[in-house]
């Protein structure tokens, strides 16, 4: 159990590749931190620097209260679970879990105790005498976790541990890992490119892009208040809609105007727009698909948020449906209740929930609100 502090961490490779730039993060004891971002953004590199598999080019890595940049990986007291775990095929589950402890010459009684405790936590006590061949995919994954647990490390590092599992098992193991975290009361640092995994598992999420941290916050905060265009587009499925346009002022009324659409900005937002000098400037409006509605009650609440769109495709998803629409050449997606009778080719009146609106500066791509 430990706090981790990453302070101005850089990773440079030969040939001018900077994989990680000025990474700053304080991880609390027992926290579940998720690093998420597109391929090549530096998630694995960051994790590998924490593990010690990769040298830190610059900056300080502190575990507990000790700077560990130069501490050999196996003395950092952390355990790592990898994407491709190979259980030792000729050993039983027990031997697999005991292997690392035996290697470190732990006394036999201690090994027995730790393996049984871990097996109990993972609910695989009845499998201890089996060989990996005779286990299901989920059971194997649990044994792989067990091998890390018996070491009783200060922190667990996991790099896409679920990406080789099929979709159903992945969802199941996601919950298992969250439960495991609660039971073990240890710091977890988890890497994934899957934003759903990040949103459902993390206490806090670190969104990365091109080696830079974009935002660090709770899943809710990230979802509701993305700091910039990238985070807004990366988190959420289907992705947030973006429309390019301008903020216009007419007789004290501010509106967002783009090709074929004009929305009145609520008064509560005027001040921040003025403060940021966004008026008469190109901006990008962001609205999540579930914040576009077709029920008339929304039109009454937000008369300034009504617009019309051509429906190109309708996808039924059970309790809800997705509308893929075109507003003067800009593609929009709406996620509405399935009761609606909107059909392909219709031009319905839709309403944007103006309290859920986002505006981004087009130039800096930073969020204005």
């Amino acid at each position: 159990m430990a706090e981790l502090k990453l302070s101005h961490i850089y990773k440079r490779y030969s040939g001018n590749v900077v994989a990680v730039t000025d990474f700053n993060l304080d991880i609390a004891d027992k926290e579940f931190i998720v690093l998420v971002g597109p391929s090549g953004c530096g998630k694995s590199t960051t994790l590998r620097m924490i593990a010690g598999l990769e040298e830190i080019s610059d900056g300080d890595l502190i575990i507990g209260s000790k700077r560990v940049n130069d501490v050999p990986p196996k003395d950092r007291d952390i355990a790592m679970v990898f994407q491709n775990y190979a259980l030792y095929p000729h050993m039983t589950v027990f031997q697999n879990m005991a292997f690392g402890l035996k290697l470190r010459h732990f006394p036999k009684a201690e090994i027995e105790k730790r393996v049984h405790e871990a097996a109990k936590i993972l609910d695989i006590e009845h499998l201890l005498q089996r060989k990996p061949k005779a286990l299901s995919g989920g059971q194997r994954q649990r044994v792989a976790l067990g091998r890390a647990i018996v070491r009783e490390p200060q922190a667990f590092l996991m790099d896409e541990p679920l990406s080789n599992l099929d979709a159903k098992l992945r969802v199941q193991m996601r919950t298992e890992i969250s439960k495991l975290h609660k039971r073990l009361q240890t710091t977890f640092i988890y890497v994934t490119h899957d934003q759903t995994e990040a949103m459902t598992m993390g206490d806090r999420i670190v969104v990365m892009k091109d080696g830079f941290i974009q935002q660090v916050a709770t899943p809710q905060e990230i979802y509701n208040h993305p700091k910039n265009l990238f985070v807004a587009g990366f988190i959420g499925s289907p992705a947030m809609n973006f429309i390019q346009g301008t903020i216009k002022e007419e007789g004290g009324v501010l509106s967002f105007t783009a090709n074929g659409i004009s929305l009145t900005i609520p008064e509560g937002r005027h001040e921040i727009l003025r403060q940021k000098g966004a008026i008469n400037k190109p901006v990008i409006l962001g609205i999540r698909p579930e914040n576009i509605h077709d029920e008339p009650v929304y039109a009454q609440t937000y008369p300034g948020g009504v617009f019309e769109a051509n429906v190109d495709v309708v996808e039924h998803m059970g309790s809800e449906m997705y509308l893929f629409m075109d507003v003067s050449g800009q593609q929009l997606t709406a996620r509405i209740v399935a009761r609606s009778d909107v059909k392909v080719g219709d031009r319905p009146k839709l309403t944007v929930d103006m309290s859920k609106l986002h505006i981004f500066d087009k130039e800096t791509e930073e969020s204005i609100f």
Binding site: M80, Y88, M91, A148
Partner: protein, 345 residues
């Protein structure tokens, strides 16, 4: 100190010792060989020693029970001298590794082969192991021995290790018994690599070869394994476990002369081009080639929209003149990228 020929002299040359059995005899379970198995009018006898199994052949009825017991007794003495011999065969392998590797050569020649006694019986399986990061060599040596020892115990197989600071060869006797364990050289290699990563946090690359039948083949295999490990390292290949014949075209590219690599690499991808395109170039081309030039699969793996991938491909074409949707262009750029990775060494 009793050598095998001395041993043989003790019983009037009525027994000779071999390390290699004819295929037919190799199929016989060890238990039967320990009893003495008759093949082509000769008795093939296995003697269990501390270092493995040693095979002796004698004509039926020419050795008495007492003589066999005597040999078994003397073999214990032989064990003592085996250490010296161990150094000798180990030296042969180390010398082989140190021959220059322009390309591994079939010509590797070893004089006086018959005189070398090896402390294990053929056939064998070999696994060559090398740290991915050479700076970790000292950790590597310290850790790998422990890991291999723990595995050998688990596998219940005989193992021997030849040590070079950055290259360790693990030799496993491949008896009938080991075959029944449903193990393969590949699974053992993967397990060792995985064990090193998880237990020692060291990344290791392994090259494995199955069923080596004699010492000459062993020496050549060891040389080839090192060559492949170096090629995989130079080209920064991701796969940590490589079959002895599993590197395909990389092998040929790696043996090209450095001057040629440089000329080619810089002609196809001049510095301006690589600078302009940045990391996207390598990421796009490598993933595209790995996925057989399949756009959708590549886009999926890079978490890109198909159109963004298309844009990247067009941009590469604009800057380099190569359209990587064509096989020959893709291969050309891919090879140049490998040479860039390697730094034209």
């Amino acid at each position: 100190m009793i050598h095998l020929d001395t041993l043989s002299r003790t019983v009037d040359q009525r027994i000779r010792f071999v390390h290699q059995l004819p295929i037919e005899v190799r199929k016989i379970p060890l238990a039967e060989l320990l009893e003495g198995y008759v093949y082509q009018e000769e008795v093939w006898h296995a003697f269990r020693t501390q270092r493995g199994v040693l095979y002796g052949i004698y004509q039926e009825h020419k050795l008495s029970h007492r003589e066999i017991a005597l040999i078994e007794l003397l073999l214990l003495d032989y064990e003592e001298s085996a250490n010296r011999k161990l150094e000798r065969w180990q030296q042969e392998l180390i010398d082989a590794i140190h021959l220059p590797i322009e390309a591994y050569s079939e010509r590797t020649k070893i004089e006086d082969l018959d005189a070398i006694h090896v402390p294990f019986a053929f056939p064998i399986v070999t696994i060559g192991l090398r740290p991915k990061d050479r700076q970790q060599a000292s950790h590597f040596i310290n850790e790998i021995k422990g890991i291999i020892a723990s595995f050998a115990e688990g596998f219940d197989l005989t193992y021997h290790v030849v040590v070079e600071p950055t290259f360790v060869v693990c030799i496993i006797e491949w008896t009938e018994e080991s075959k029944t364990l449903e193990l393969s050289a590949e699974t053992i290699a993967s397990s060792i690599v995985d064990g090193m990563l998880r237990e020692a946090f060291l990344e290791v690359r392994a090259v494995y070869a199955q069923e080596i039948l004699d010492f000459n083949a062993l020496v050549q295999t060891v040389r080839r394994m090192l060559f492949l490990a170096l090629a995989a390292e130079g080209f920064q290949m991701e796969q940590p476990v490589i079959a002895i014949d599993g590197l395909g075209i990389h092998e040929l590219l790696y043996s090209a002369l450095p001057t040629l690599k440089k000329q080619y690499g810089l002609r196809v991808l001049p510095e301006e081009a690589t600078k302009l395109l940045g990391v996207e170039l390598e990421q796009t081309v490598m993933t595209f080639v790995e996925n057989d030039l399949n756009m959708s699969e590549t886009a999926r793996q890079l978490y890109l929209h198909r159109n963004s991938l298309l844009y990247r491909i067009e941009r590469i074409k604009e800057v380099t003149g190569y359209d990587i949707r064509r096989f020959s262009d893709a291969a050309t750029v891919w090879a140049a990228l490998l040479f860039h990775r390697e730094g034209f060494r």
